[in-house]
């Protein structure tokens, strides 16, 4: 049976010593979000995840969702768990208090999401989609729509979806065919088919609010002719309770590789009543609000899976007695040494650990900037924070989900043959992790977003938000004797990243295929440097604590050693990536299509 304990100590370390989450309480509206309160909330959240959600993960995977006569049933226990979840107000944790939310920082929610995804990724899909719908509606919906629907999303009695993909188009949304016909009362009639709709139909809530992309009759072709509509499963009555069934129904659900307890639906809209969200033809803009938030959330899914995979791998490596250490028996009292004594096993474990902890720090930093971008009184600071988030979004999404999959694979590997067995529980993480690299824009698309959109924007202004603080940290820390061993490898990798950035920008201007060919390697290079930066900050904080003799010395000592592992064993991948990037597009493009 798999195990899971929320990594509260590491989260506290990241929040207090890396991100400086105590500054959150200085932001208007977050006055209550003191470190103490945040701690309490996360401890409660950890309990919920460990005790309520985690026990349903394997059973949910086994049972999956079922579809019968247009009705989708979630696995046993999910409805009760969901009721517990919303009863405690978790759904509205970071939502607007005016609509019943608790108004806590997004950073807190980001950390909680990691726990949920570790505990039960399939379950997490339902509240996650609702939050996406909440974000889009609260930013672009009319006052009337907000009054009618937001409260229900916040208290979790109703849930939300994002209906983008159609049978013939996913990445290229310009091709969308679903139609919206204006009605005299200001509403619209929506007709069309959407596929791959997560949480499109289920039995957890009394109503479901679909946010649907569709075309108005006078819509221009392409993405500039797409509008966003709110289409409820049940049309609300005047008193706000669900009324008559709307013209939307689930046609079937998909049988999938992973996240089996999350329903993935074909949704058929037939003259379904909907209301315009935002301006006509500006649906992509609203969609991007959802999508950007969702991309970060998917990145956190990867992190959650990495963490739980790591925990199980370590647990097994400690317990499994097999053979002896290469240098002779370490536990002569036992029939064999635990496999954790072996260098290669340790390499696997440390890889998962170093990626996971680095990603957690980076994820928290991005989460913090989300709050600054929204709440900081100084417009310039807000803008700069937003630019940092924009730049890091594709990296968080792609890098973290790659890490999640890698860590899950490592967990299976460390388990040996047992890892391949369903009951052990870790192979589920491999299957669950796989979708994270695909949905919300495949990781290849994330890489294109990074080199195509983020890199060149305003002659590299977004880049400044990352490169300048990293350059400054390196400069200061290189001077310090105790940090030089960490700062130097980072400086080398950073220089490679700078060079690659300049060259891709230059080559990409002349030939976009050059940028495209470098994209995914570049994203990985960027991501590795970003994690290296986090490790430099972490080791600095840990050394300070050790020197001062404060806190849990074993914890800080492990930080220093993991940092050393990262700088010595993982970061040097940047060299190979750099060489690959320099090789350009030709090796990819010269073989004729027909010759494949």
């Amino acid at each position: 049976m798999p195990i899971y304990k929320a990594p509260l100590e590491d989260v506290r370390f990241v929040l207090d010593e890396i991100v400086g989450a105590d500054k959150l309480a200085q932001l208007p509206g977050y006055e209550d979000a003191t470190p103490d309160l945040i701690n309490q909330v996360l401890e409660e959240g950890a309990k919920l995840c460990e005790e309520v959600l985690f026990p349903l993960n394997q059973s949910g995977d086994e049972e999956g969702c079922t579809f019968e006569n247009g009705v989708v049933r979630t696995p046993k226990g999910f409805k009760e768990a969901y009721d517990t979840y919303i009863a405690a107000g978790w759904q509205g944790l970071s939502c607007d208090p005016n609509y019943g939310g608790q108004g806590l920082p997004k950073l807190v929610n980001t950390m909680l999401e990691e726990f949920i995804c570790s505990a039960n990724l399939s379950f997490g899909m339902y509240p996650g989609l609702s939050l996406g719908a909440y974000n889009a509606l609260s930013m672009y919906g009319s006052e009337e729509l907000k009054q009618r629907f937001l409260g229900r999303l916040v208290d979790g009695t109703w849930s939300g979806t994002m209906c983008l993909t159609e049978p013939h188009c996913g990445t290229d949304l310009g091709l969308i065919r679903t139609k919206a016909v204006p009605q005299e009362d200001g509403s619209h009639k929506i007709t069309g088919t959407k596929i791959f709709i997560s949480a499109g139909e289920h039995d957890l809530t009394e109503n479901i609010l679909h946010l649907v992309l569709a075309r108005l009759p006078d819509a221009p072709a392409g993405t500039r002719g797409i509008s966003l509509f709110l289409v409820p499963k049940f049309l609300p009555k005047d008193d706000g309770t669900p009324g008559p069934r709307n013209g939307v129904a689930c046609g079937s659900i998909e049988h999938k590789m992973g996240i089996k307890a999350s329903s993935t639906c074909v949704m058929n809209f037939e003259d379904a009543t909907g209301w315009l969200v935002g301006e006509p033809h500006k649906g992509m803009r609203a969609m991007f609000v959802m999508m950007n938030a969702a991309r970060l959330a998917v990145g956190i899914q990867g992190l959650g899976l990495a963490e739980v995979s790591y925990q199980n791998a370590v647990n097994y490596a400690r317990e499994r007695l097999q053979g002896r250490s290469l240098k002779g028996a370490k536990h002569p009292d036992k029939p064999a040494d635990p496999i954790i004594v072996h260098p290669d096993v340790r390499k696997n474990l440390l890889t998962a650990r170093a990626y996971t902890e680095g990603a957690r720090a980076l994820g928290a930093l991005v989460g913090y900037h989300l709050d600054v971008a929204e709440r900081h009184p100084d417009p310039r600071t807000r803008k700069e924070a937003d630019e940092f988030v924009q730049l890091m979004t594709p990296i968080v999404k792609a890098l973290f989900t790659d890490i999640g999959f890698d860590a899950a694979n490592i967990a299976v590997q460390v388990h040996g043959g047992h890892g391949f067995i369903w009951e052990t529980g870790v192979e589920q993480y491999v299957r669950d992790a796989r979708i994270c690299q695909i949905y919300e824009g495949t990781n290849g698309i994330q890489a294109l977003d990074l080199v195509g959109r983020k890199l060149g924007q305003d002659m590299g202004r977004l880049l400044r938000r990352f490169f300048h603080p990293v350059a400054a940290d390196i400069e200061t820390d290189m001077e310090k004797e105790e940090l030089a061993e960490f700062a130097l490898p980072l400086a080398k990798a950073f220089a490679k990243l700078q060079q690659a950035t300049a060259i891709i920008a230059q080559k990409g201007l002349k030939d976009p295929e050059e940028a495209g060919a470098a994209a995914s390697d570049y994203l990985r290079l960027f991501g590795l440097v970003a994690l290296g930066w986090m490790w430099l900050r972490m080791v600095k904080a840990a050394q300070a604590k050790l020197a001062a003799g404060e806190g849990n010395a074993a914890f800080y000592d492990a930080k220093v050693k993991t940092a050393r592992f990262y700088m010595a064993k993982l970061l040097p991948q940047t060299n190979a990536l750099f060489i690959t990037i320099m090789a350009g597009a030709k090796p990819l493009m010269e073989l004729e299509d027909a010759a494949f």
Partner: protein
């Protein structure tokens, strides 16, 4: 004959502008207008000189040139005409009044002096009617374009009796001394440029109305895509004045041949007539086809709706036809929408009209193309435009538009109007054969050299050319001629090739034929490098530039730069390091780095300090040269002419000025060869500088500025860094500072500034808006 003194009669916009330009050429000029009835009898001409001094863009290249203009009146001062070699008449376009004036001046003028009229519409044979034989021999038409200093075209027309030597002397004077592109025209209405230009304007307006285009759409077609200034046609009429158009039309209609196509094209549009009647006559009036509406405290660009005649908010247009066609003019004319149709109509009618006028208005197509290029700032003349379409394709276009195919196009029979044969540019004659395009004597064009040869060497931003007699020429080819690493590499390559100057190559000339010599260092590249924190690379860029510029300065061969247009920042600094600058009169030099939060660091501070220190006219003492350099650089002063650049010492007294752009390269090359005969590199300069005490003085001065609100917070940061450089850092007067040390200070200050957010904001703002940020 030689022209040493001149007179202009009529002190209106054209007359006074022509007088100012004589003064720009160093020629004393008498400016006469009618006598005032009361007070100062020369008040009108005097007032005109005052207006010249305030006009923008400035008619004078230097305010002191005004002293060369002697204002007077036509009653008391006619005797002054006895001293001048050339009298230009620029009075009202009325044959009777002109005739009366001619009879009055003929008896007093110097024997053998030339008289010319600046008429744009009255035929020469009408003007000389009834005048003396001598007058008729000495008379010609010299048609300047407005504003005379800046517009390069001069149309010159001789009559049957005009002395050929007079014609030749005036043409030569206008070419060399006034810097004009002189085009000989026949005595036909509107000569070349206006004849075609007015027809083009009329056609373009007609077609816009007929096809229902907005003025923005029309200008987006009949502008950039055709190589015409972006003002297009409606923007141009706003500049010229809507009210002027009916006058020109009337005059042309009175004199044009019976069957001229303009007669059929001429149309009065009620919307325009109403605009003129209500005072909407263009930029000089209440507004034109476009206006800036300042009502409500905001500046809103508005445009006229051609159907209703009402103003509405101006729309930025992005035409599908233009983006789809790219540089292909044919594709634009073939684009299946009304904007494509518009392009088709305007091109067909205008170009066919122009083609039908040779040989009626000029003997060769070369004169017609030159006229439209220099008189209307078209990038390509009509025949060059037809070549872009192909003569056969154009003939088909005429047929499909129901326009008779012009005889000359038939003659071309599918062959181009211009071709390159053995490296020589040739044009098609009316006889159907190709003749070489002949440049005036003493004109050397890089474009001709480029046609005839391959570059000695080139990279992405620069080429090296063999311009003959052992002189190598660096040409910038980067966007806006921005200076980058490739240009530095080209200098390096040139130095390698020339070596000690005793072999195949003797000297280097730095020149290009773009509108602007160079706008300075490539800021876009710099900003990107800066955004990703590539500090060592940025420092290397600064140091590399310093090394290259110094190497050129101390190279064992002469370096002569020949700029025209803007030479800013790093593009100005290369001029400061050249042994000699042969500047086009219209060269605008400036060290403008402060505008983007930086200081000149390719030796600009160091060189300017050396120049001001060596200025014999400066007050004695350590501080005056430092203060002057500080002022020039901190205010980012840009000279509005080569003459002004001498005042600011961006140019040395010994540097040369060439009035005619086409003669610039030849002059520079001659100078380079002259210097090469016995060349020794300059001596190194050392600087005696006050160090911190001097800096404190400058900082006090700066604080004063800040208190008056004249310096922003970041100005103080930038100027503080500049002060540190110019005072020699921690120098002290007992120890002279070397050039190397000065360059080190420039570099240090630059690297400090480049890391400040204030500077990054300025660079970014400049790149995104084109304007300096005042932060």
């Amino acid at each position: 004959m030689q022209i040493k003194r001149a007179a202009v009669i009529g002190s209106g916009v054209m007359g006074s502008g022509i007088a100012a330009h004589f003064a720009n050429a160093g020629i004393p000029v008498v400016l006469l207008d009618i006598a005032s009835k009361e007070g100062d009898r020369s008040a009108i001409a005097k007032g005109a000189v005052q207006k010249l001094l305030k006009a923008d863009p400035a008619p004078f290249m230097h305010p002191k040139n005004a002293k060369l203009v002697t204002p007077g009146n036509l009653e008391d001062d006619l005797h002054l005409l006895a001293e001048v070699d050339w009298i230009v008449e620029a009075i009202v376009e009325n044959p009777a009044i002109k005739a009366d004036l001619y009879t009055r001046i003929d008896p007093v003028r110097k024997e053998g002096s030339v008289v010319s009229s600046n008429t744009s519409t009255i035929p020469l044979n009408v003007l000389v009617e009834g005048q003396s034989e001598a007058f008729q021999r000495d008379f010609l038409i010299t048609h300047f374009f407005n504003p005379p200093r800046y517009m390069r075209l001069l149309e010159i027309v001789g009559g049957e009796k005009t002395r050929p030597d007079a014609l030749a002397a005036v043409a030569d004077f206008c070419d060399r001394n006034l810097g004009k592109g002189v085009v000989r025209c026949k005595d036909t209405p509107g000569f070349i440029a206006n004849r075609i230009g007015v027809y083009w304007i009329q056609t373009a307006i007609n077609a816009a109305v007929d096809l229902g285009l907005t003025v923005e759409e029309a200008d987006a077609i009949v502008g950039r895509p055709m190589g015409i200034p972006k003002t297009g046609v409606f923007g141009l009429v706003d500049l010229v004045g809507l009210d002027l158009m009916p006058h020109i039309a009337k005059s042309l209609l009175a004199t044009l041949p019976e069957n001229d196509a303009y007669r059929a094209a001429f149309r009065e549009h009620p919307v325009i007539t109403k605009m003129i009647a209500e005072g909407y006559t263009g930029r000089k009036g209440k507004g034109g086809f476009y206006r800036l509406n300042r009502a409500g405290g905001q500046k809103v660009k508005e445009a006229i709706d051609l159907t209703t005649g009402e103003y509405r908010r101006s729309e930025k247009v992005k035409l599908e036809s233009v983006s789809a066609a790219g540089r292909d003019l044919k594709a634009l004319a073939d684009f299946p929408d009304k904007t494509g149709q518009y392009a088709r109509k305007v091109l067909a009618q205008t170009l066919a009209y122009a083609a039908s006028l040779v040989p009626e208005i000029a003997d060769s197509i070369v004169a017609v193309d030159e006229g439209m290029r220099l008189g209307y700032n078209w990038k390509h003349g009509p025949f060059e435009l037809i070549d872009r379409l192909g003569t056969a394709w154009f003939a088909d276009l005429c047929r499909s538009e129901g326009i008779p195919v012009p005889a000359l196009v038939e003659t071309a029979a599918g062959q181009p109007f211009y071709r390159v044969e053995d490296g020589k540019l040739q044009h098609l004659t009316t006889a159907g054969v190709y003749d070489n395009v002949v440049r005036p004597e003493g004109v050397l064009l890089l474009s001709d050299i480029k046609r005839a040869s391959k570059p000695v060497w080139k990279n992405g931003s620069a080429s090296l050319w063999d311009i003959g007699d052992g002189v190598l020429c660096v040409e910038f080819t980067s966007k806006m001629n921005a200076v980058d690493g490739d240009i530095m590499a080209a200098y390096g390559k040139a130095m390698g090739l020339i070596g000690d100057g005793k072999g195949q190559w003797k000297a280097l000339v730095i020149h290009n034929e773009a509108d602007n010599f160079s706008v300075g260092a490539n800021l876009g590249l710099a900003l990107f490098a800066l955004n990703i924190g590539m500090w060592p690379q940025i420092e290397e860029m600064v140091e590399g530039g310093q090394r290259t510029y110094r190497a050129l300065k101390y190279a064992p061969f002469p370096v002569v730069a020949a700029p025209s247009g803007l030479a800013l920042g790093g593009g100005c600094e290369i001029l400061l390091h050249s042994d000699h600058v042969q500047a086009h009169a219209e060269t605008y030099m400036g060290l403008v780095e402060v505008g983007v939060g930086l200081i000149p660091a390719w030796g600009g501070c160091t060189e300017m300090l050396a120049r001001y220190s060596k200025n014999p006219k400066a007050p004695k003492g350590l501080m005056p040269p430092i203060a002057t350099a500080f002022e020039t650089i901190s205010l980012a002063k840009v000279a509005k002419s080569a003459a002004e650049a001498k005042d600011l010492m961006y140019l040395r007294a010994s540097d040369g000025i060439t009035m005619n752009r086409d003669r610039l390269l030849a002059d520079a090359k001659a100078k380079a060869l002259e210097l090469a005969q016995s060349y020794t590199p300059p001596e190194k300069t050392t600087y005696t500088l006050p160090g911190p005490t001097g800096r404190t003085a400058l900082e006090l001065f700066l604080e004063g500025f800040a208190l008056q609100g004249k310096a922003t917070p970041h100005d103080q940061v930038v100027c503080g860094a500049l002060a540190e450089v110019l005072t020699g850092g921690n120098a002290d007067i007992t120890e002279p500072v070397t050039e190397e040390r000065m360059l080190g200070l420039e570099r240090k200050a630059f690297m400090e500034l480049v890391r400040t957010s204030g500077t990054i904001d300025r660079v970014e703002h400049m790149l995104t808006t084109g304007k300096p940020l005042r932060n």
